[in-house]
Amino acid sequence: MKSIDKQPALKMSFLKALQSLKNFLPIIIGMLLLINLINLFANSYYSKIFTNNSILDPLIGALAGSLSFGIPITSYIVGGELLKQGISLITITAFIMTWTTVGVAMLPLEAKFLGKKFAIVRNILNFIFAIIISILVVSTLTFLYNG
């Protein structure tokens, strides 16, 4: 009897989820298409944008990460390669953190579902946190290894 009662509710839930899918799928497809096009031009510039300035580079790293888009594993690989090229760990950490926590490209999508103010405040906050965390991580590691 209970399962019969559940049937209309299940159908309603399915239709509601389907409606949401219909709304967000074109946006996700459009965003991914656009970002993959922009990334082709952006990826080759990563190693050229850093200045070896210890104050400016973490900011540039955080900014580059915020504007970049891709699966998070890419940020670790790009970050690892930049580290080999001599870019500081603070800069790389800020880059990785903003890559995964700040989504300028996905801001319209976040605003649509979670609210404009929420999306803007969260992304600004995450940008600031990325720089603070990068400094704290490197300071902690320096403290742990050098006492």
Binding site: G30, L32, L83, I92, L114, F129
Partner: protein, 171 residues
Amino acid sequence: MDKIKNKNKISGGIKFLIVVLIIYSVTALLNFSIIKEAFLNFSQMFIKIIPILIIIFVTMILVNLYFTKDRIGKYLGSKSGIKGWLYAIISGILFSGPPYAFFPLLGELKKGGMKNSLLAVFLYNRNVKIPFLPVTIYYFGLSFTVVLSLYIVMFSILNGKIISWLVKDES
């Protein structure tokens, strides 16, 4: 009449997709190889998120079915207390997949009463990515990975607190 009008109305998402497709078409006329590469990258990325989208779709059905406003309020809303924060931290760490795929589901939970602070905590903790830990350790070492993960969890709480002060929950 309004219903017919609404049915014929093209959604903002479709309009956006059409604009992107026009950009692709124009760029293809100028340089076809760039579009080919961009489309291949897009396809690889999209194929990877299909299973996640399916999981999200099924979760949305379950949320619509079982997560009534009362239940969301109890576990993730104003009445959730410290347990709500713990649920948000743990689920944020355990759920894998790109954040944008979660926005529609989180939007549904928000409509049901999920607090802004817990939304922010969930999203921030998604950066402790268990499947990617071996890659992080490979490139940056175990100490870096552990220290970074701990700071992410700590800052997620601060993130949630500040969000709750700055962005008021809808009543």
